[in-house]
Amino acid sequence: MAKLKLGSYWGAACGGCDTAILDVHEKILDLDAAADILFWPIAVDFKYKDVEAMPDGHMDVVLYHGAIRNSENEHIAHLLRKKSKVMVAFGSCAHLGGIPSLANLYDKKQIFQYVYHDSPSTVNPAGVEPQPTTKVPEGEITIPIFYDTVMPLDFVADVDYYVPGCPPTPKQIWNVVEAILTGNLPAKGSVVGASSKTQCDECHLKKNEKKITGFKRIATAQPEQETCYLEQGFLCMGPITRGGCDTRCQLSGVPCRGCYGPVDGVLDMGAKAISAIASVIEAKDEKEIEAIVAQIPDSLRTFNRFAIGASLLRRKTL
């Protein structure tokens, strides 16, 4: 059988997805035996021009990690889509916008102002900001255009499959690799390498009836480690987050923050989280509800930690 032609790329990402692929450890040799890697910047030295020179549809599968933050991320997404048969949005950033899409609470101007002018570690007396095109004595050099709004991959390219997680667990990555190698893939548009159940269905913590009368923070209170964190008042995204990660965060003693994205059928993760949490608040009247809700620190960036880019509102209107 011909070897699978595989590509992997990062847009606005941290490299954690790449590292998670390497975390399959010795199975990486099986991957090497079954697939030729034609593009993977973190690991092998192919350039954009090598991808441009490929015939269309040349790569069997491309794993795209990272969000669409700038024009380079988008350009390479288009290029890889053209050069691949199957495109996978791999990891939270490509799937939902991920952590980089927290920047959608600001715009380019605000981010540049802080990063290049106001931050305490910035020394920039000339007030220089990066420009897409810079004239130098020898000619012109360019960098990508920084967008106002961070997007998940499927906003700019046709995506065949989604692998959730920040990062996806090595066990799930291997499940996906095996599914690709055996051609055992579900319908286009499916989430693969995850469970169809929620985190709560797979969580080891003891669950009783949830009646929350107040919220606590890990900074100022310590959860008891055998009972559901949410029941104890520590905000947890478990009820609406897709399982499949082996509840790594809960096993590490902290509540889930939702990196595996919502379960099937959820249009907006943050809205669903608000609805789920609201349904377990135990209060007599509106005033009491308000007092309890006021104890949730930073609800916006907790309910939407990994999914602002894919949310219905996409961004904060400024």
Binding site: W10, A12, A13, C14, G15, G16, C17, D18, T19, A20, P41, I42, A43, V44, D45, F46, K47, Y48, K49, R69, N70, E72, G98, I99, P100, L102, A103, L105, Y106, Q110, I111, Y114, V115, S119, P130, V136, P137, E138, G139, I141, I143, P144, F146, C166, P167, R217, I218, A219, V254, R257, P297, D298, R301, T302, R305
Partner: protein, 63 residues
């Protein structure tokens, strides 16, 4: 002037490119190292509960 573009820089975490300009003798006249990437963590962690920050900034570099 001849120009050599190394794009992207590979086998490291992050994005980078190098533009090298060669003079008529084929020597390096000038070289520019560019970082085409910014995500803006400095801005979007502001006001976040302190216990949540390690869970976010660990995604600056995941290698």
């Amino acid at each position: 002037m001849k120009r050599i573009s190394i794009d992207p820089i590979t086998r490291l975490e992050g994005h980078g490119k190098i533009e090298i300009f060669l003079n008529e003798e084929g020597g390096v006249e000038n070289a520019y190292f560019q970082i085409p990437e910014l995500r803006g963590f400095e801005k979007f962690v502001q006001g976040m509960p302190v216990e949540e920050v390690p869970r976010v900034v660990s995604r600056i570099c995941g290698v």
